[in-house]
Symmetry: D2
Amino acid sequence: MKNTAILLISCPDRKGLVATIAEFLYRHNANILHADQHQDSANGLFLMRVEWDLEGFDLAPEDFHQHFAHIAHQFEMQWRLALSSQRPRVAIFVSRYDHCLADLLYRHQAGELHCDIPLIIGNHSDTKWLADTYRIPFQHIEVLKDAKAEAERDQLALLRHHHIDLIVLARYMQVLSPEFIRHYPNRIINIHHSFLPAFHGAKPYHRAFDRGVKLIGATSHYVTEILDDGPIIEQDVARISHRDALDDLIQKGRDLEKIVLSRAVRWHIENRVLLYANKTVVFD
Amino acid sequence: MKNTAILLISCPDRKGLVATIAEFLYRHNANILHADQHQDSANGLFLMRVEWDLEGFDLAPEDFHQHFAHIAHQFEMQWRLALSSQRPRVAIFVSRYDHCLADLLYRHQAGELHCDIPLIIGNHSDTKWLADTYRIPFQHIEVLKDAKAEAERDQLALLRHHHIDLIVLARYMQVLSPEFIRHYPNRIINIHHSFLPAFHGAKPYHRAFDRGVKLIGATSHYVTEILDDGPIIEQDVARISHRDALDDLIQKGRDLEKIVLSRAVRWHIENRVLLYANKTVVFD
Amino acid sequence: MKNTAILLISCPDRKGLVATIAEFLYRHNANILHADQHQDSANGLFLMRVEWDLEGFDLAPEDFHQHFAHIAHQFEMQWRLALSSQRPRVAIFVSRYDHCLADLLYRHQAGELHCDIPLIIGNHSDTKWLADTYRIPFQHIEVLKDAKAEAERDQLALLRHHHIDLIVLARYMQVLSPEFIRHYPNRIINIHHSFLPAFHGAKPYHRAFDRGVKLIGATSHYVTEILDDGPIIEQDVARISHRDALDDLIQKGRDLEKIVLSRAVRWHIENRVLLYANKTVVFD
Amino acid sequence: MKNTAILLISCPDRKGLVATIAEFLYRHNANILHADQHQDSANGLFLMRVEWDLEGFDLAPEDFHQHFAHIAHQFEMQWRLALSSQRPRVAIFVSRYDHCLADLLYRHQAGELHCDIPLIIGNHSDTKWLADTYRIPFQHIEVLKDAKAEAERDQLALLRHHHIDLIVLARYMQVLSPEFIRHYPNRIINIHHSFLPAFHGAKPYHRAFDRGVKLIGATSHYVTEILDDGPIIEQDVARISHRDALDDLIQKGRDLEKIVLSRAVRWHIENRVLLYANKTVVFD
């Protein structure tokens, strides 16, 4: 794999933006590999992702800020530089259901997810065997009804200790507190087992079955303080019929959940997701 | 097309049901073309659709009731006999948007919908040109804010006059009163421009756009007294991305609406839809 | 609708390309509305579509060539400038099946297709009623087995007379001669009723039915001298099952054909399609 | 899980068939759980799958044949009785790619596949770690270019020794000989990484990429002596665009392959697949 840099920009849309950015990269001899941009005319917003080969680029990553700061200031940019050499550190939270965990660990092992996974936290220990198979440390932190704060305190200590960049809730059946979420803004990805906003909250398959929908869905989204309301990263659906009992919905749903969650995680760690107005732009 | 009879049955699930029905049809020399059944074990319910060629069948349709009554009583059946020779009479209600109306009329003319359409009712007259093209009587009944009851009275008079069996709301932008709906229970099909139950109520595309969903949907359902809550007949979705502005959602949605509504109407008039527990079984 | 210009570029990928183009547009005060680019690293190719508002742009469209020629030459560009004010002139060829024609004409009338349709040519006159409904001149040119050359000569004369930019084969059941195709390179769009390259050639639904596939498809593509081999613009599929007889395949296929063809036509007339290596890039 | 029997029937379509079968089951006090039938009018064929609870059924499975033989003979049935208590014995063949193997083993362990897997045969040993994880015996049988017959002889010996009912080729990159296939007619399931019949044979992703298709597919089918020509059990597709390089096709394809193969395997072992005319009927 090439050693690349990725520049993510979000700013008010103004003339000369692209010319200025492109000229800057050209001046420093960047060999651009991919460039995507989006203009949201309703919000007057410009969003961009540009990736270039670091070979031949004449700025050291640590000097980029200093040289780019003037442009960023001029155009009021929110921006971030990511390096493909810096693999994000991901923690996976899990309860008893193991299909999403198994899927993520297999993909990681197979090289589909360019990240490190130094930590799995389970509020049950049922899935420890999977962690062991893939040789990833598993921490069992029980979440008692009246002692959630203590559990979250222990979780946060572990996350800090492992320098975690992203938390993936792989069918973690607990609601995180607002205090916890504030430590990882837009850095917690959840999989909800419905086509949000339909059936937000508990037991979506049961409610989908009762409502008699003809498609079931899954939604991966960033976790915010409002339950199941954060920016949606990816969704997909599968067709069902009267021949599907509730158990069939749950089984078909598992395949959706795995695929929808793994796409979201991959896009996040490849720095393809930009956020605005509680929505995502995915440069895939 | 063959001259066929269709028997639709819904009853408590009991042993001997299929044997009894099959023996009855065999005894009267029915040449069965299609048979579908469904057992809902949670509700202890048996649902069946069986279609046979009337050629060689030794009961006249008008005598069927008398001969089948004993079996129907024994198994506590709700049942109905439909004949392919009796084309349902369909009225289409429409407002200003004409894409669903144009689609239904084209399909009807092309022979995809085996029904008669003796009546189109519009609360605006914008779509009269389409009715004229396909030579279907168009009635303009304005629905004033304070005079909905009068409008519905006029509508009902027309529906009765034309012996209407099924009402199709082809993006008819008015909410029907409970009184009106009670005249046509499970015989009014609506198209809602979202993946219900998400975005029920008004302006679903706007709300889908604001929520940042990655798929838009459409839902055809029977109209009940609770808005957007009736039994769902069909749903489908289409993928969208950040590149789609609100207008693109609306345009992509039109194709969904046309297809989802036309499927529901076709299944209904081909007697493929059975109802229970506010859900549908579609024997397609 | 805004009055816009669209620049389409295809050239060898070189550093400084985007910077040069963006600087040129900025210097002439272009208000960029959309910009998409694609780099094909295997072929060392750069492809771009950029659209800007002509309001405030300080070059008259007729002067663009003169000012841009230097850059185009420097980077060995194949390029084209399109104006939203110049609506392409489209001719539709049709045989007896009318579903694609009906769909295109309805969409055109509804404002979904920004083109003029001054001409429909049918080798049968069955669809004349549709042309009349939408008030578009219909020309019946019979194609006799031994006189195809004469028919094509008459067709070409009509196309020239009407200054046609794009020919749409809306289930036109004739194979065009290489001589004919050479007059409209990459300007003839066909709809093939299979998922190409599966079932290229005749009677694809019959062959799909015989092969027992579980999905049927449709493919829109540019017509080249090799049958069903031109660059693919769009494809889609629909699920079928053993319950679908051949007629059901054909009916389900019609909906696919309509949608796949109309997408391709829309993308072409909105100048969203770029070609290379017998493939398309669609900037949608 | 209930202890059930499944009767699979294929025979010429005749009046009285369903009545006779249903009466037979009723007479022996069968509590029918599911019944599906299909009539292929073009071929005059009747196909049926009926499943009932063995609790209360008054025939022992070993006596079923004797009692049913008369009916079977009368209607010229091809038939088979399967018992949910008899789990099929499945062998998986694999090469170096491990995604389908990993998926099948995980699903088996999670209870989605009601079979035993006593044997994995690899022509490479790369995937042994997966077999070890799930504690399934792994046999490495190298397939040398000039010694395929010897390899197949060893494979067949192992298959016989383990009383294998079904062979699953989980991206096994070798072509089996006609002699081998004849030992397991309609009992070898392959996953082909294209939407057959498109791109049958070698390197389908490369050819799909070169042809510029807009969807990629995967096909699970029974293996027959003609390469990639056996009865199709399941197919699915995923959308791609110009932004997908060949590696992206391969990665997206892996998810298709896993899902399409696992569905086919599940349907086979649940006795849901019936065969005729080189096609499948899947009673799902």
